[in-house]
């Protein structure tokens, strides 16, 4: 046993050793996401910036693709993090899991290098197999799609086999079933058709059923485990809440898919189904807020890991406001007709991905660093606490500023481009030139810089928190 506060991998179990590898790559890709977001944002203000070298399309592709991949890495890492603890035995097939991690990482590096250096191909099948599939969020070329599926299958094998050989907890059961859906749905995005309506119909199966269904349930599992670890909440309570969340999330989210089927050629009945079920989508997010806040209060905020708990609470609120409220604001077709494809969506996208997912992965980063340093003290008055608090504050201030600025630009677009101008190209550029739109883009960029500062501070904090602590972690106390 090494001294408290020293980074030592013997403090981690096998799954956790693999988890911290995933977390390290996730954090690096998070940095790439922020960097390329800043570049794309600058191009709104100065279109000549990097024109012909790194065009907006390239920066924006890396921005959103890095996000999807780093969150996936974060989720995989988080699952490996809790796996041995939940199942009660070492990870089954860990060597294969490790190999898969290196292959996955190498594939991501190759994909990004090709994005940056090759950028586009000719209008042939070979381009979408080797360079870029050209479909938002799942731009990865087909060879990489297949690689992703293989790596996810290895991951699934690790998780399912470990729970099966060890024990199935409620968290474990939900996680395994959710991963079946998550991996299966990805296949819906892996085919080519000249029919763009059909293309987008299946593309939404991947995008929506990931981010508004299976990913939500996955963070539900992560929250359940996180609350048990940081607060000492009883398993029965978190697992009952988890089932409530699953029922409400899948009950609203699966048919909520319909809100993407208003304008892509799909039948009119989706207006009713999509409108109704997506209006219900915020309900499980309210449940998560109630659950997290109630538990934290019930335990009088006495946690083993204050930064992690703070990020879990941030997740509960961020998910509710970013995904729930911001999503609901423009989900009904009567409104969406004027907001679809404007900066409203960008506002919602930024806030929702941050609120629902980034927050939870960061909470796991903090749980990981604590244990890696030998279960060091990370409760109130941890040495250098200003860093995690300021990182949390700056990331939130930056994100809220971006969200509000994009929303104002979106309002202006809905009114001037859509309602008045009639959505043709002249109307589009009239709206884009309007001072209200331009000011929104300027404030978004300032928000981006603040967010980037928060990211730097977060990384610095993750590398240093607990280093000079000699106190052991506070023990979570069960409360009846």
């Amino acid at each position: 046993m090494t001294a408290l506060g020293k980074l030592d991998s013997t403090n981690l179990n096998g799954g956790q050793k693999l988890a911290v590898k995933y977390f390290t790559v996730a954090a690096a890709l998070f940095g790439a996401q922020v960097l390329f977001g800043l570049l794309a944002g600058m191009q709104y203000l100065n279109p000549d910036f990097l024109f012909g070298i790194l065009d907006f399309s390239v920066n924006r592709m890396v921005h959103i693709n890095a996000m999807i991949v780093w969150l996936l890495f974060g989720f995989l890492g988080s699952a490996y993090w809790l796996l041995e603890d939940e199942a009660g035995i070492p990870v089954v097939g860990l060597k294969l899991g490790n190999l898969s991690f290196w292959i996955f990482t190498l594939a991501v590096v190759v994909v990004v290098v090709v994005y940056l250096l090759v950028q586009v191909g000719s209008g042939e099948h070979s381009s979408i197999w080797l360079i870029n599939e050209g479909r938002e969020y799942i731009e990865a070329p087909r060879w990489a799609d297949i690689g992703i599926v293989v790596c996810v299958l290895v991951f699934f094998y690790n998780v399912a086999a470990t729970f099966t050989k060890g024990r199935y907890t409620g968290v474990g059961g939900v996680l395994v079933l959710d991963l079946v859906a998550l991996a299966g749905i990805y296949l819906a995005g892996m085919y080519y058709t000249p029919n763009i309506s059909m293309d987008q119909h299946w593309w939404w199966w991947v995008i929506h059923l990931w981010v508004e269904a299976t990913w939500e349930v996955l963070v539900g599992c992560l929250m359940a485990y996180g609350l048990m670890k940081t607060l000492g909440v009883r398993r029965k309570i978190v697992e009952t809440w988890l089932y409530i969340e699953v029922a409400l999330m899948f009950g609203s989210g699966i048919l909520g898919l319909g809100h993407h089927y208003f304008w892509i050629g799909t039948p009119e009945y989706w207006f009713t189904i999509g409108g109704f079920f997506s209006a219900l989508e915020p309900i499980p997010l309210v449940a998560m807020v109630v659950h997290a806040v109630f538990d934290a209060g019930h335990h009088k905020l006495k946690s083993t890991n204050n930064p992690a708990l703070a990020w879990i609470i941030a997740q509960a609120f961020g998910n509710f406001f970013g995904a729930g409220v911001w999503g609901f604001m423009h989900t009904l077709p009567q409104i969406n007709l004027y907001t679809h494809g404007t900066q409203w969506t960008a506002s919602h996208g930024h806030f929702a991905f941050f609120g629902a997912y980034v927050t939870m992965v960061i909470a796991y980063f903090y749980m990981a660093i604590q244990k890696w340093r030998g279960d060091v003290y990370m409760s109130g008055n941890v040495i250098g606490a200003w860093k995690w608090k300021w990182a949390l504050a700056l990331l939130h201030i930056g994100m809220l500023m971006m969200t509000m600025a994009l929303l104002i630009s979106g309002y202006e677009q809905s009114q001037i481009e859509r309602a008045i101008g009639g959505s043709d190209w002249v109307a589009y550029f009239t709206a884009q030139s309007h001072p209200w739109f331009v000011q929104g883009m300027q404030w978004r960029q300032i928000g981006g810089y603040i967010f980037a500062a928060g990211f730097v501070l977060l990384v610095w904090d993750l590398m240093t928190i607990g280093r000079r602590e000699t106190r052991p972690a506070q023990i979570a106390t069960a409360v009846e």
């Binding site: 209008g123 042939e124 099948h125 731009e139 029919n195 029922a247």
Partner: protein, 197 residues
């Protein structure tokens, strides 16, 4: 500990979670069969690829209270009438080009994509092309050499993506075909190019 209330019990919610998920998924599968059937090319909502042999307009439908695409008189693209197979091959090449050139990370198509450049759903019908007589050639030339054609006060330009002439023509075919899709009135209040002779 007090006796557990049935509606707050773990097993009640576990069963609910399973049944609600399974039920929703079955409904989705059922609807998917119908939707896929309705959006297969050649139907009422998503016309056959050979629709590019015709004039496409976007007209207000009183009954549905929205604008809908209408396939009108014969007006073949680039003056050449194509069979269904030829039309599909051309549209497909155009769609592959839009994917390989990553159009969706600046533009939106059917409203989905990025917001740095205009929506392409009705680009075939956009009044900015000037007149319908020069539209096809204008589109091809623009796609092949967009970088010097500043068309807005913002300074935003489309980069040269190395689009060849056959790719440009195929892309125009894809865009013309996309404008025939019944998008339930999206975009609304759109004023299309004058196509009357």
């Amino acid at each position: 500990m007090s006796k557990e209330i049935w509606w707050a019990s773990e097993s009640f919610w576990r069963k609910n979670a399973i049944w609600i998920t399974a039920g929703s998924f079955i409904v989705l599968i059922f609807l998917t069969f119908d939707t896929v059937n309705q959006i297969t090319a050649g139907g009422k909502r998503v016309p056959a690829y050979s629709a590019i042999n015709h004039r496409i307009t976007y007209e207000f439908d009183e009954k549905r209270n929205m604008q809908v695409p209408v396939i009108g008189v014969e007006e073949p693209l680039f003056g050449t009438k194509l069979t269904e197979e030829e039309a599909q091959a051309l549209v497909s090449r155009g769609k592959l080009t839009t994917q390989a050139k990553n159009c969706m990370n600046c533009h939106t198509l059917l409203g989905n994509g990025a917001y740095y450049a205009p929506d392409l759903t009705k680009s075939w019908l956009d009044p900015s092309w000037g007149s319908k007589d020069i539209r096809e050639q204008q589109m091809v030339e623009f796609l092949m050499n967009p970088q010097d054609r500043l068309h807005n006060g913002l300074g935003r330009r489309m980069p040269n993506l190395g689009i060849t002439e056959p790719e440009a023509r195929a892309t125009v075919a894809f865009l013309k075909w996309m404008s025939t899709i019944d998008t339930n009135g999206f975009p609304t209040n759109f004023k299309p190019i004058d196509q009357e002779n």
